[in-house]
Subunit: 412 residues, 2 copies
């Protein structure tokens, strides 16, 4: 790759040639892809960009792929960025945009990482990709690989919800339900990957995945005409996404396309916030229990904590923890004011923003982008619990008039 210098361990600084099959550093640290920005500046212009298809691959000079690596088939990326003026008014901020990344092929931001895994697997000549996950990583891998004609082996713990397994099976994944907890599931996947040499899409290990995720912030910048907001709010689980978001922003700053960097707002669940706790207490992170209904960010042992902590600190970021009730209130708030239906983990960034507005940390002079990372259709069960009851009436107009009156609803 002419645009990549090498991969560098974020822990010990050791560098590696950026081969497609890269995993962790010998010291256990996660690798970071280091680019040749001078080369990229020469190759990529805004005019070139404007003529390209609306997918994440429009940014290929900023991505760790060969020039000849084909785009992946599903339309990943270029999700809508909505101006949310009514919600901005309610929260009391100057300007707010909602980036709805639930509008991806398998309905989450993880499609960006999985599309990257598919591209790199092709470079490696692999025909099979494997991962262990019960959630969006798994479904996005299964879908993106199926579209590219690659096979998948996906390891899930036996507690994985049937609906998620059904999605994997429909995409034709080979699904292994492991009798045991997540650690045991991960372990079996590791042994199998070693035995058969499958391409590894475990975000803890593959340094290219967060490079795929960074395309969300490249898009935000382009959609805003390369003018950055003051803040960027996002939910945080294992840390890979917020690290990717920050990487994309720094890339654009490095090539001179943006001249300021937003402060990151790292939103986690009150019931599981090891990364935010490490920032708040300025200590190394420690494992936490996983007590939140926002399943995609219920990560007590975050596997990308190092990169995430670095991103939050470098951006002079803000951490905020929200309760499950605050998360579900944010889901409804986004639905009613923006027509955006996000999954609980997907709306946690907005929940955090709302909390910070209430506390006066963010206010009327501030501009903010809030990223919704997954679609609400992924978890209808929790929406049912929190959304309230409809009016229940017979086919009788008088009864309807009375009920509308009782509730004080406006009819015009």
């Amino acid at each position: 790759m002419k645009n990549v210098i090498h991969a560098k361990c974020v822990k010990c600084g050791k560098t590696y040639e950026a081969s497609p099959n890269l995993t962790n550093c010998g010291c256990g640290g996660i690798l970071d892809v280091v680019y040749d920005y001078d080369y990229i500046k020469k190759k990529l212009t805004r005019e070139k960009l404007a003529a390209r298809p609306n997918t994440m691959w429009r940014y290929r000079e900023l991505l760790p792929v060969e020039e000849t690596t084909p785009d992946t088939p599903l339309r990943v990326g270029w999700s809508p960025l909505y101006e949310a003026d009514r919600l901005a008014g309610q929260l009391g901020v100057k300007k707010l945009w909602i980036k709805d990344d639930g509008q991806n092929p398998t309905a989450s931001l993880k499609d960006r990482a999985s599309a990257m895994a598919v591209a790199k697997a092709r470079e490696a000549g692999a025909k099979i990709i494997a991962c262990s996950s019960t959630g969006n990583a798994a479904s996005s891998l299964a879908g993106n690989a199926a579209a590219a004609g690659l096979r998948t082996f996906i390891f899930v713990p036996e507690r994985a919800p049937k609906g998620k397994v059904a999605q994997l099976m429909t995409f034709g994944a080979n699904v292994i339900s492991v009798q045991g907890n997540y650690e045991e599931t991960f372990e079996l996947s590791k042994k199998a990957i070693e035995k058969w040499g499958w391409y590894n899409r475990n975000a803890a290990i593959n340094p290219y995945l967060s490079e795929g995720k960074k395309t969300v912030s490249l898009e935000i910048a382009e959609q805003l005409g390369w003018k950055m907001p003051d803040y960027l709010a996002i939910s945080v689980g294992d840390g890979c996404t917020i690290a990717g978001v920050w990487k994309g922003l720094k890339d654009l700053y490095a090539i001179g396309w943006i001249d300021s960097l937003p402060r990151l707002i790292s939103a986690q669940a009150e019931g599981c916030h090891p990364i935010n706790r490490a920032i708040a207490e300025n200590k190394p992170w420690q494992p936490m229990e996983e007590n939140t209904l926002a399943d995609s960010i219920a990560v007590g042992v975050p596997r990308n904590a190092d990169k995430a902590l670095m991103a939050i600190r470098e951006s002079n970021g803000i951490v905020v923890n929200v309760t499950d009730e605050e998360i579900m209130a944010a889901q409804k708030l986004l639905g009613t004011t923006c027509g955006v239906f996000g999954e609980p983990a997907g709306v946690t960034g907005t929940a955090g923003l709302k909390k910070l507005c209430g506390q006066g940390v963010i206010g009327k002079d501030d501009t903010v982008v809030s990223v919704v990372t997954g679609n609400g259709l992924k978890d209808v069960a929790n929406a049912i619990k929190f959304c309230g009851e409809p009016m229940k009436l017979p086919n009788d107009l008088d009864a309807l008039v009375e009920e509308i009156d009782r509730r004080g609803l406006k009819t015009e």
Copy 2:
């Protein structure tokens, strides 16, 4: 509207001025919007199109809206059209494209109709839109209206699945669960709409909705460089969608942008196919029972049968009925070969295509577009029933090796 001449009853031919609040003709017939193609030809060029945002509103000269009517806020339309070479090979056709319309904001093609309803409601000065539906029409209306700051009253029969009601509540709709069947629900909505003068988004009545839906075929044509396939396969319920698809194609033919028209393939469920029966027997349509799991097309009394029958006949179309098993097999086929997850009603067009290929009606010289009308996440329950079981194993590599061997799975 300078581009619209009038609306004309498809039954008796009476014409009406195209005001935003149009409903059915006095004779009970459905109205059809008649355009001034000479005017449109002068106003719309392919070069103009190329520079526009990727939403359904890029075709506004071909849509029944005022020049000053604003675009609706959600990003509706411009769903991906995938080249499905592997699936084409399996079915034995020359070329196949899958239009994945489940990639719309509320995850179905109905967003196109609901965005149109929002645009027309704004023209009418209405602040409230109402409809009766349990399905995609309801959720798309709730979402698109919320984004535009309009309120909704949505009437659902009491049997409506909780998940769908939750989606409506999350979008802030006023939901009325009517103790009775669908007919009683529709009746109460009608009385309420009359009483309060709400804008009416019942597809049986509002002639603008299928004009919104037609944007799916405008897009297909543009995405194919204005070269039409031999066939276009789509699922059919109340008839509004296939009528819209045909209208869009005829529009493009009328302005000279395409020089041939595909034959329509109308796919219905074996357990509910009143429109296809009418074509097959060349008789007027008769109500049928609703015995299929493809709920969005389980329409025994199709409300747009007239327009649908006309479309199928005019296109020299083909009708095909498929069993629930064939529908669910098509869901898996699309998942495994294309990475597209469609709801049962959404994949019925592809199921029909597959059946016709098996019968030799469609074959190796034919090119086909198959439209997937809704996202599989809308109905995970049926996917669970049909997708098969994962491998269930302990954390034991030897057990995995044995199981993979037993199943004859390829590991490289």
